[in-house]
Amino acid sequence: MLLITCPWCGPRDETEYHYGGQAHVPYPENPADLTDEQWAEYVFYRDNPKGPFAERWMHGTGCRRWFNVLRDTVSYEVLTSYRLDEPRPALPQAGGNR
């Protein structure tokens, strides 16, 4: 089980949270201008890296707030967590796809 740190409540078991997929996927700036392919990209296509991944979690049985987590999808190590209004932190060690 993952141990995830909620920025407000601190470290809690994975079962307290709900997973929300990739973080930092902005709504299109000019939605009326998008082609079907661009809409498909926005709605259905997400990154699927082997290695560090910025993703959203929600503290369902705690403060019920969304936040972001950097997690390694191979080792499942939770590298860091941060608020939605904070930028994706630089990794302390070299990451990237493995």
């Binding site: 089980m1 993952l2 078991d13 994975e14 079962t15 709900h18 997973y19 997929g21 079907d36 392919e37 809409w39 498909a40 709605v43 259905f44 296509y45 997400r46 699927n48 890296p49 082997k50 991944f53 993703e55 997690r71 999808t73 191979v74 080792s75 499942y76 796809n97």
Partner: protein, 406 residues
Amino acid sequence: MTSTALPEHPDWLWRNPEPRSSYDVVIVGAGGHGLATAYYLAKNHGITNVAVLEKGWLAGGNMARNTTIIRSNYLWDESAAIYEYALKLWERLPEELDYDFLFSQRGVLNLAHTLQDVREGVRRVNANRLNGVDAEWLEPDQVAKVCPILNVSSRTRYPVLGATFQPRAGIAKHDHVAWALARRADEMGVDLIQGCEVTGFLKDGDRVVGVDTNRGRIHAGGVGLAAAGHSSVLAERAGVRLPVQSHPLQALVSELHEPVHPTVVMSNHVHVYVSQAHKGELVMGAGVDAYNGYGQRGSFHVIEQQMAAAVELFPVFARAHVLRTWGGIVDVSPDASPIIGTTPVENLYVNCGWGTGGFKATPAAGWAFAHTIATGEPHPLNAPFALERFATGALIDEHGAAAVAH
């Protein structure tokens, strides 16, 4: 053929050739789908100058990690067509391949625990029948007759309100399936190359002309990806983005028991699925872990929930011991249906996104994928499962019939 015969040792079933510098077709991934594709390329299309490249060992990925259930009771016409085609191929494959892979048509029950489950189940039975798929709706007392150890009491937290039943569904011995396909493909000239990881793609403009591997460069007229959980990682190396997410899916087996469980039972709502293997293990699965992952292991709390559901449904399992657990990596598409067909890169074909449903589809996936690679065009079976559907909106939403949360 008898079900008590021991299988031949795999080492005797295929050659282990060195990779040549060029093939008509290279398949990436020697799992069930890759092997079935190679088999049907040779058998249906006479294309035998084929290599199947496998980074690990043959059928050591998801083929070795699934719960071996075969059924075709999907809701939509497109899904019913391809899964039912697979089931019909399964029914004749043991004879065709001359290999007993213990295909046992013991039926599958999909339990309903809520009024919505009941409505969905009845609707699916009707849809199945319209598509020529055998399906029945069973009331709780009829469910108990099919599977007497199942607790259909009204006093459980989520009582069994009924079930869909597909009598022709069943299980097969997954390793034997792979070995049977591998032996025949090998006999027809296909090179099965293990320990050969694809590290990149050779491209000529917008056309794939081969692959780079840890065992050298291999030129190919066409390249088919059948790499399950790693499909998006591979496709990205060829410049193709796939709308799939990789998730850990785990399963487990108990110690051996006397035959107690005569069918396959799946419950979407309380989330466990159980069958009893020929040797006697109870084989159980649950849903995927919510998060993306490549670690080939799952979360303990998923097992805990799955065991709680299993013991409530099958009180007789309360003192069974878990013998081992394992995880596979499934690639999940947005509509819980596979993606099989061409890609924006010429001569590059993809078979992925099967989520938790890949094993049962093995022969039809191979059949349709071989056709697509051989002709450059999709087969009617896989035409609806093209990558383009995510832009056109013609999705095939099988989240319900997939029967596993993903």
